[in-house]
């Protein structure tokens, strides 16, 4: 086949994602802030679609955040990752899927570095043996968890109870997609659609009925910046980047934001609260913010799961205006309940940002 021009360029960013048999590793940040998302990922892959996704209790952090906060040497993070690969090998799997974008970028960087410098891979194999008496095969295929939901997007659409459509007007919802920087900015060929036009989230939004909106700062970082957030004194950096993005997207009146990175939905959600409380400015309609979702939360919503089973009560920006636009059924009384509707109080309300 002869490829020409854009078609040839585009072909470099297509991924032949294996359909089944994955070794799954979790994300430090997502387990803390979006516990319902990882649970929904496994629910969709295992129980809705009947795929084989294996997890072992023995896997740990990949060390990516510590590495990008410059607190551990490269050999340390590489050997932690080598141990994760050993767990995959011992479990009999070859396809490796990471829930975290920092991890995904970390794995991609390490595999590329080993490919270019085989002597470093040999050194890490020795260090792993010395520390843990383990050996490993490198994954045949490395994916981010959003790659899998992208791959299954049409199957999810065929089972959907709701679509990303305004039930009153029949118009597609206006959706901002935000891709985590380490998904494809370092290694564009590792991400669906590359770094310039990543398609991984657009594909989901289109399959589920929404319209992706473009805006000038679409590819700008959310502002995590690792040490620029984890050190309290530096957080102005993080806030300023989120502010820049919201000012840029505001004229396009987005209904919602979908993200594929652990930190981005947290920052895009929480900094809206800070901007509202400190500047009096809100970006949604009628004093609300623009709700920010993980891709599993959106998948769960279109499949008809209860919003409170997805963990949407842990967002600071209220999601109810969006649920009402779509027509999702929910019980407001259950939002802040514990298991079996146990009363565990409810959060205080912000002064400015309108919440439900």
């Amino acid at each position: 086949m002869i490829y020409q021009g854009k078609q040839k360029i585009w072909s470099e960013y297509q991924k032949e994602i294996p359909d089944d048999r994955w070794f799954y590793v979790r994300s430090c940040i997502r387990q803390n802030f979006f516990p319902g998302s990882e649970r929904m990922f496994m629910e969709i892959c295992r129980n809705v679609l009947g795929k084989d996704f294996y997890e072992t209790e023995h896997h740990t952090t990949c060390g990516g955040i510590a590495y990008h906060c410059d607190t551990i040497p490269q050999e340390t993070v590489m050997t932690i990752v080598a141990r994760q690969f050993a767990l995959m090998t011992e479990a009999g799997y070859e396809n490796y899927v990471a829930s975290c974008i920092t991890s995904f970028g970390n794995y991609a960087e390490i595999l590329e570095t080993w490919r270019e410098f085989p002597e470093l891979e040999a050194k890490i194999r020795e260090l792993l043996w010395k520390a843990c008496r383990r050996e490993f095969n490198k994954p045949k295929y490395l994916a981010h968890a959003s790659d899998l939901i992208y791959k299954y997007r049409n199957e999810i659409a065929s089972r959907a109870k709701y679509r990303l459509v305004n039930k009153e007007t029949g118009e597609p919802l206006k959706v901002v997609e935000h891709i985590g920087c380490h998904y494809s900015k370092m290694f564009p060929s590792k991400g669906v659609g590359g770094a310039e036009y990543p398609y991984v989230l657009c594909g989901m939004v289109e399959a589920w009925g929404g319209n992706v909106i473009d805006y000038p700062e679409r590819r700008h970082c959310c502002g995590y910046g690792f040490r620029q957030y984890h050190v309290k004194a530096n957080r102005g950096y993080s806030l300023s980047n989120t502010y820049k993005k919201f000012e840029s997207m505001e004229p396009y009146h987005p209904d919602m934001i979908i993200t594929n990175c652990p930190g981005c939905p947290y920052f895009l959600d929480r900094w809206q609260y800070v901007i509202a409380e400190s500047e009096g400015k809100t970006y949604g309609q009628n004093g609300y913010g623009i709700p920010v979702f993980t891709y599993e939360e959106v998948a769960g919503l279109v499949l008809g799961y209860d919003p409170w089973d997805l963990g949407l009560q842990l967002h600071q920006v209220a999601v109810e205006p969006l649920l009402d636009k779509i027509g999702v059924e929910y019980n407001p009384e259950d939002k802040y309940k514990g298991l079996n509707k146990k009363d565990i109080m409810r959060p205080g309300l912000p002064d400015v940002l309108k919440c439900c």
Partner: protein, 233 residues
């Protein structure tokens, strides 16, 4: 070629990240940190490829190398396939290795970062962990997070997590034998040595500044002087 440059050029991230920089400044134009801080990755690349040890030493002792957010937006945009973000990581690594990070305010932040992150990894197996992510230190996380931290077990149970439980799942208790393996990895790869060296250098700096380690932690974690930002003198 100076000795410092030689040491820097042993780092794989410099081999990968600094090939043929033409100093066009595209990295600076795209850089989120350059928009916020008095920071110019183009100049840093220029200094490193000058191989001038005196200038490189100044960099390693400065605030400037700690401004980058490691988003790697520069890697995508560089027309010569360099990675300024990778070079910055190598500079920070060398600054930590030499103990020069304590010479700058932003460099001194390596102490609280190391204590928090490596503490979480070695104690729990996670980089971020609910027990140590306190609302008091993260008030931007809002009233919802305050409520969440007051009802951690109930909320995690409600959402199907396996918080501090046996077996797989969200926020499971990572078995002690796996934590022991992490500790041995740190021991054989230089991770433990790095933690101890950062502690030792920081202790010395705290003494110089007349502080105990708790005061030093709070100062480096919470305070910043004027002059780092583009809109400050």
């Amino acid at each position: 070629m100076g000795k410092l440059y030689e040491e820097l050029s042993q780092d794989y991230r410099v081999v990968e990240g600094l090939k043929t920089c033409i100093n066009c400044g595209t990295c600076t134009a795209i850089c989120p940190a350059a928009e916020f801080y008095k920071y110019d990755p183009r100049k840093i690349m220029d200094i490193v490829q000058s191989k001038d040890d005196a200038e490189i030493e100044k960099l390693l002792k400065s605030d400037v190398i700690w401004y980058c957010g490691e988003c790697m937006s520069c890697v995508t945009r560089c027309p010569r396939k360099n990675g300024p973000g990778l070079v910055l990581m190598a500079l920070r690594n060398l600054s930590a290795k030499k103990g020069w990070f304590t010479c700058s305010e932003k460099g001194r932040q390596l102490y609280p970062l190391t204590k928090m992150l490596t503490g979480n990894i070695l104690n729990y197996g996670y980089c971020v962990y609910p027990e140590t992510f306190k609302w008091e230190d993260h008030k931007e996380s809002g009233p919802v997070w305050k409520w969440h931290t007051e009802h951690l077990k109930d909320n995690f149970e409600r959402l199907g997590a396996n918080y501090q439980g046996k077996g797989p799942g969200v926020l499971r208790k990572i078995p002690q034998e796996s934590l022991d393996e992490l500790k041995r990895i740190f021991d054989v790869t230089g991770g433990t040595e790095r933690i101890e060296f950062v502690e030792q250098c920081s202790r010395k700096k705290a003494e110089e500044m007349g502080m105990d380690m708790e005061e030093y932690f709070r100062m480096t974690f919470e305070t910043t002087s004027e002059g780092h930002l583009n809109n400050e003198d």
